[in-house]
C-alpha cells in the first residue's frame, strides 16, 4: 500500500522515528552489504544534476521502471519544497540495503511537519500538492524534526510492484 506510515509520521517527539540504516543492520538482516554506505549532497538549483545522481544510485541499488520514476518524482518534490519553502538550504542523502532504498531530504527552516501532508488530493496546486504526491509515490513517507531543521524520509521497498 502506498501512503504515509501514520505511526511514524509524527513530528516533534521523535517517537516512531525510523532508525537509520547502518551497515551493521544490513548484516544483521542477512542482507547483502554492497560497500556503498550512501551518498550525500547539498541541495542547489541544479535539479538536473541532482536527479541524475539519484537515478544512478537508485538504479545501482536495483530500482528500475515505474518505481524508479516514482522515487525520482517524489525526491524532486521534496527538494523543490526546500527551495520554495524550506529556507533554500538543505541536503539530500540516499542509501540502500537489501530491502529498500531510502532518500532523506533536510531543510534549514524546520517548518515542515507531518500534519502538512494532505489526506486527500488537493483540488488546486498550491502548497501541499508536492507533499501529497510524495505520500502517493513512496512506500513510506516520514517527516520529523532533526536538530538542523525538518527531515523528510522517502523509502521504497526493492521487491514491490508500482502503486497505481
Amino acid at each position: 500500500m502506498p501512503g504515509i506510515d501514520k505511526s511514524s509520521a509524527t513530528s516533534g517527539s521523535g517517537a516512531g522515528r525510523l532508525a537509520p540504516v547502518v551497515a551493521g543492520q544490513r548484516e544483521a538482516q542477512g542482507g547483502v552489504v554492497t560497500g556503498d554506505r550512501g551518498q550525500h549532497w547539498p541541495i542547489d538549483d541544479d535539479l538536473t544534476a541532482l536527479r541524475e545522481r539519484l537515478l544512478r544510485h537508485a538504479s545501482l541499488a536495483g530500482m528500475h521502471g515505474d518505481r524508479l520514476d516514482d522515487l525520482l518524482l517524489a525526491a524532486n518534490e521534496a527538494v523543490i519544497n526546500v527551495l520554495e519553502h524550506g529556507g533554500g538550504e538543505g541536503t539530500l542523502s540516499i542509501w540502500h540495503n537489501a530491502t529498500c532504498v531510502t532518500v532523506e531530504i533536510t531543510d534549514s527552516s524546520g517548518d515542515l511537519a507531518a500534519k502538512h501532508v494532505p489526506p486527500e488530493r488537493p483540488t488546486d496546486t498550491v502548497r501541499g500538492f508536492g507533499l501529497w504526491l510524495m505520500s502517493q509515490l513512496c512506500d513510506e513517507l516520514t517527516i520529523d524534526q532533526a536538530d538542523e531543521g525538518s527531515r523528510v524520509r522517502l523509502r521504497m521497498r526493492l521487491d514491490s510492484e508500482p502503486a497505481r
Partner: protein, 131 residues
C-alpha cells in the same frame, strides 16, 4: 548546468505532412526537462508561442523527459488561457514518467492526453464538429 526546456512552434507544412491538423489548431513541441527552476520561463515562452489567431492548441510532449508539480501548474494555466478563448488543449505523446504525474494529479482527462499528435488533432476536430 541548469535544467533546460524548449518550446518550438511546428510549422503548418510539417504538420500537414504528418497527418494534417484541423484549421485553427496550433501545434507546439516541448523538449527537455521542466521543473521548479525553469517553469516560470517556460510559462513565458509557451505564452509567447501560442498564436493569437488560433483557437485550439496541441502540445507535443514526445521530447519532454521530466515534469514536476510546478510544470503541471504551467500546463493548467495554459489550459485555462486556451479555454477562456473558447478553445481546447490536447496533449500528445507524453513519456511514461510524464503520463504518470498527469495520472496522479488527476489531469489525464482534463488535459485530453493522446498517444500521437494525429490523435490529439483528431480529438480537437471531433470536438469542434459533433457530427
Amino acid at each position: 548546468m541548469s535544467t533546460a526546456v524548449h518550446v518550438s512552434t511546428v510549422p503548418d507544412d510539417a504538420v500537414a505532412a504528418s497527418g494534417g491538423p484541423a484549421e485553427g489548431v496550433s501545434l507546439l513541441a516541448v523538449s527537455g526537462e521542466l521543473d521548479y527552476t525553469n517553469a516560470e520561463r517556460f510559462r513565458h515562452d509557451l505564452l509567447g508561442s501560442i498564436g493569437s489567431d488560433r483557437q485550439h492548441l496541441v502540445i507535443d510532449l514526445a521530447g519532454l523527459s521530466f515534469c514536476d508539480s510546478t510544470g503541471i501548474r504551467v500546463f493548467l494555466a495554459i489550459r485555462k488561457l486556451v479555454q477562456d478563448r473558447g478553445g481546447n488543449l490536447a496533449i500528445a505523446d507524453p513519456h511514461p514518467r510524464i503520463r504518470r504525474i498527469f495520472h496522479l494529479t488527476g489531469l489525464t482527462d482534463a488535459f485530453a492526453v493522446h498517444p500521437t499528435v494525429e490523435d490529439a488533432v483528431g480529438f480537437l476536430r471531433r470536438n469542434e464538429d459533433p457530427a
